[in-house]
């Protein structure tokens, strides 16, 4: 949304300056072109500048496909604005395409009158062929509906770095900063944060530092001086809660949350895992923080990872694991052991496109059924889902709170979108964090491993405690005593008790909140990473006067106690999910509500407009 227009002098000429409420930029190019870095720099600069930001990297599925091919395209999208940003945005305002393949795979997402910046040097015959273009799209007129800026970035970058003494290849690696410079000029961003970053990063390699500095500036001045740019944009700082901020991806936030939970309870954190996209970064982040008594165990497979977590929980650690769909499938059996032994542990599943190996680098929400049902026998477990990258921090703490208070494994369903997406995170005051306490019984007269407290939790008696020696395992246990027990009535009692315990968790969680009016025509019920898109869409529809509200489940099993009641206050319920309707199924079964599913299974998050359109399809686009 344009919020202002004025004119200013840029170098020797006049340019129009358009003030925007928010904007969406995407850098795309070959995997080796440094697009992730360019995007990150623009994000950081914008955040420091005071904008709200939201980002979404899009990695190619192959490690490093041949240069110039479609499979090798890497992208990084960010939105920044003067208002709250709930997603990295639908359609892009400014697209930077470093080669034909990048253009081909991304041009669809550019707004009809959007700005396209291309590195025209890369539009060679060979590259065009690799991208599957028969003719050069810069020449065919097919891009006419966009504002196209053809810049010979390769040449200009080489020129800028010519005195650096670096090899051609190293010089070539700087060109992302030329493009970044152009974008900086376009949005009137300060270069300092990036210049600082360059000198910190390349302190020991002054030639590289200098080359990057020069080409960044060259890009910036190219924007300033060249006549081709006649418009510049500004995006004012957002009204953001005061405080210190930091940008976190969902995976980083999850890692910090795990560390915080353990530290708050004065415990060591054990993290047993096996690398898998898109969960591995949690391990990478945790492995760096050994000084926080973080014990990472890179296991031989997911089964070992899960089994080690069960063992570590038995021994008294705050134990967690992280994986993605196929890994969760492998963990099923050992999770059942965690449930039978009623030990506290946290299982993070960063969902990706399935089934089977599926679309490993893409996002999806199709493991809810697996989380709830994916084990043999009646094996109930608490299931949570964070709703934004930053919420991963809070949900990790919440997961450990429940795990320890109720002595149960807790599953956290993150997804690829949250895991890699980033948003500003207001650094919390440590004293404001939940208090977590883990208590271990000491020897007394009446210790019984399966005697329960009011929450139905059994005692967490840990090896090393004199006098509390006991044996646990995967066979059915006798009530209270905890010996192996085949008694039919006892089995039924234990099965029902384990379920009841999970249901009881609902007593400790906040009620489901409604965004918008608490009664009306349509409620959108969501869960997990779709929060931003759903909320933004509902906000827009509300602004149009439609009778629509939304509610978002962070707790999926058990659900907040008032869930059924909230649903009953709306005529229709729409459940948007990145799957074929898994929450839909649960809601229909639990509440016998004829909810409607809105399903997208494309390895991509919802666009705000998709949900908006769906709302209008249901309600009509006229306000009530």
């Amino acid at each position: 949304m344009v919020v202002s227009t004025q004119t200013k002098n840029a170098g020797q000429r006049q340019v129009k300056v358009v003030g925007l409420e928010s904007t969406i930029v995407r850098f795309c190019g070959d995997s080796g072109d440094g697009m992730q870095l360019a995007g990150t720099q623009l994000t950081n600069t914008s955040a420091i500048f005071g904008n709200d930001v939201s980002t979404l990297p899009d990695f190619p599925s192959e490690i490093r496909a041949p240069v110039g091919t479609l499979a090798g395209v890497s992208g990084f999208q960010l939105a920044f604005g003067s208002k709250k940003l709930r997603t990295p945005g639908d359609q892009v305002d400014v697209l930077v395409a470093m080669n034909p393949a990048a253009l081909k795979t991304n041009i669809e997402d550019l707004n009809a009158d959007g700005t396209l910046i291309v590195n025209e040097d890369a539009f060679t015959g060979g590259n065009l062929a690799k991208a599957g273009y028969e003719n050069n799209p810069l020449e065919t007129g097919e891009l006419d509906k966009y504002h196209v800026f053809r810049i010979p970035i390769d040449k200009l970058n080489t020129e800028a770095c010519k005195d650096s003494g670096l090899t051609g290849r190293t010089v070539g690696r700087c060109k992302n900063f030329f493009a970044l410079g152009v974008v900086y000029w376009l949005y009137g961003r300060p270069m300092e944060p990036t210049l600082d970053w360059i000198s910190a990063k390349f302190g020991t390699k002054p030639a590289v530092a200098e080359a990057n500095t020069k080409t960044l500036k060259a890009g910036y001045y190219y924007g300033e001086t060249t006549e081709i740019f006649t418009v510049q944009y500004t995006v004012a700082p957002a009204k953001i809660e005061a405080g210190r901020y930091r940008k976190l991806t969902g995976n980083e936030a999850m890692a910090l949350g795990l560390i915080a939970a353990a530290k708050l309870a004065n415990k060591s954190l054990f993290y047993g895992t096996y690398p898998i996209t898109p969960a591995s970064d949690i391990l990478h982040e945790l492995a760096r923080h050994k000084n926080y008594d973080v014990r990472t165990f890179q296991a031989e497979d997911e089964i070992a990872a899960m089994a080690s977590v069960v063992g570590a929980a038995f021994a008294g650690a705050f134990a967690a694991t992280g994986t993605s769909g196929p890994g969760l499938a492998l963990k099923s059996e050992a999770i059942g052991l965690g449930i039978m032994t009623e030990l506290p542990m946290v299982i993070i599943n960063v969902q990706r496109g399935g089934p089977s190996t599926g679309l490993p680098t893409k996002t999806e929400q199709a493991d809810l059924g697996q989380a709830i049902w994916g084990r043999n026998g009646e094996a109930p477990m608490c299931v949570l889902a964070p709703q934004s990258p930053g919420d991963c921090f809070d949900i990790a703490i919440e997961a450990f709170r429940i795990a320890v208070d109720y002595m149960t494994p807790v599953m956290v369903l993150s997804d690829g979108y949250l895991a890699n997406g980033a948003e500003p995170w207001k650094i919390p005051d440590v004293s404001s964090l939940p208090k977590l306490t883990a208590t271990h019984p000491q020897a007394g007269n009446d210790f019984h491993p399966y005697q329960r407290d009011a929450k139905l939790a059994r005692p967490w008696a840990i090896p090393g405690t004199t006098g509390l020696q006991h044996r646990i395992g995967g066979l059915e246990k006798s009530d209270i005593i905890g010996d192996v027990c085949y008694d039919p009535k006892n089995h039924e009692h234990m099965i029902r008790t384990r379920r009841e315990k999970i249901d009881k968790i609902a007593e400790s969680i906040p009620p489901l909140e409604v965004f918008g009016e608490t009664t009306g025509e349509l409620l959108l019920l969501g869960w997990g990473g779709t929060y931003g898109a759903i909320t933004a869409a509902v906000e827009n529809a509300q602004a149009k006067g439609l009778s629509v509200s939304s509610a978002h489940l962070r707790h999926l099993d058990p659900m907040p106690k008032n869930t059924g009641e909230v649903l009953s206050r709306f005529k229709k319920v729409l459940i948007p999910e990145l799957n074929m309707g898994q929450l839909l199924m649960l809601i229909r079964a639990h509440f016998l509500v004829d909810a409607i599913g809105f399903n997208k299974i494309q390895g991509k998050p919802f666009m705000i407009c998709e949900i908006e359109n769906k709302i209008e399809e249901i309600l009509g686009n006229k306000p009530r």
């Binding site: 930091r246 923080h289 926080y292 497979d301 570590a312 038995f314 650690a317």
Partner: protein, 340 residues
């Protein structure tokens, strides 16, 4: 492994739990159970610092019968559960009890990796060369051609040899003993417990229900002298009772020779548990009945820093180099900016 933390030395029976022992009468597991208790008493360890972890199988019921901490986990995963226990609390003495199916069939991968990491735990493999609990299918250690319920025409699977596998996976302590030779059993268990690092013990165990007599050659009065060879460190490899026989190296192949006449003990292969390279231990692990007497005792015992030791060392070092590991510091790491 062993820790002398108990103030009062406990007796063997103090290590027994109140549970009825539920193995078939005559099962070899009983003898092992009682020797383990005895050895724990000898070592003077405490019950509360001792943890037995098992998988699933007849043998894996073991933890129930010990008045220590115990975990009867799931099939094949005991080494992984034990890894979690040990890394979470390296002070604990952790024992894994497993069967030939549990350790080498479904659990093969965890077995390999617990061994190569040199986790400081003891793994006792009760090898009865059969799946006992599931009522008698052939296992990965069953001899070729074995007829069982699942191989009525004879198994076409070549067996694995647990010691060869362990040695192939970089084990630092490897030994073999047998249920009925209780003295030797106790000796080997104690050696295993005292070894710092992974200790792997294969225990020949008779399953008198589904595989009775599998080790008769090695236990029978008439045969055992010729079919087993008890290893002693730095001693020549001799066996055979009255007619003393020995093992001599012929190139890379062992051969049986009779002592006396030309051949003296000096000509024989000498055992050395501590060789840095495991080739001798491997060669010994290849001596199988009936071609050779089967070595009993400690094949290999070398020192190497343990997995959990180094893991915790890294943490201690990190803590030392950064005493103020506060959450504030953690949260404020990375690029931050202030909004006013």
């Amino acid at each position: 492994m062993c820790a002398d933390t108990a103030t009062v030395q406990l007796k063997a029976k103090d290590f027994g739990s109140d549970q009825d022992v539920r193995w078939c009468p005559g099962c070899g597991d009983y003898a092992i159970l009682s020797q383990v208790k005895k050895v724990l008493s000898t070592l003077g360890v405490s019950r509360e610092n001792t943890v037995f972890v098992s998988g699933i199988g007849c043998s894996s019921r073991f933890p129930y019968y010990m008045n220590t901490y115990g975990f009867h986990s799931i099939h094949g995963r005991a080494p992984a559960v034990a890894t979690g226990v040990k890394v979470a609390n390296p002070e604990l003495d952790v024992w894994v009890v497993t069967g030939d199916g549990d350790a080498l069939s479904i659990g093969g991968n965890h077995f390999l990796h617990a061994i190569r990491r040199n986790l400081n735990i003891n793994i006792l493999l009760f090898n009865n060369r059969i799946y006992g609990l599931t009522k008698g299918q052939y296992s990965p250690t069953s001899p070729f051609g074995k007829r069982t319920k699942s191989s009525p025409f004879g198994s076409v699977d070549y067996p694995l040899y647990p010691l060869s596998v362990a040695i192939g996976a970089e084990a630092t302590f490897v030994a073999r003993t047998i249920d009925v030779n209780v003295k030797h059993l106790a000796y080997v268990l104690e050696r295993a417990a005292r070894h710092k690092g992974i200790s792997f013990v294969e225990i020949y165990q008779n399953c008198n229900i589904f595989n009775d007599g599998s080790f008769l050659y090695a236990t029978g009065k008439d045969t055992k002298n010729d079919t087993t060879l008890y290893l002693e460190d730095n001693k020549p490899l001799v066996f055979g009772g009255d007619t003393k026989k020995g093992i001599r190296l012929n190139g890379m192949n062992p051969e049986i020779v009779e002592l006396g006449g030309d051949v003296t003990e000096d000509d024989l292969l000498f055992h050395d548990e501590k060789l840095a390279e495991p080739s001798l231990a491997y060669l010994l692990s290849r001596m199988h009945h009936p071609e050779f007497p089967e070595p009993m005792g400690v094949f290999r015992c070398v020192e190497r820093p343990t997995y959990e030791g180094m893991l915790v060392q890294q943490i201690d070092d990190a803590k030392k180099s950064d005493a103020d590991a506060s959450l504030e510091r953690l949260f404020n790491g990375g690029d931050t900016w202030d909004v006013k």
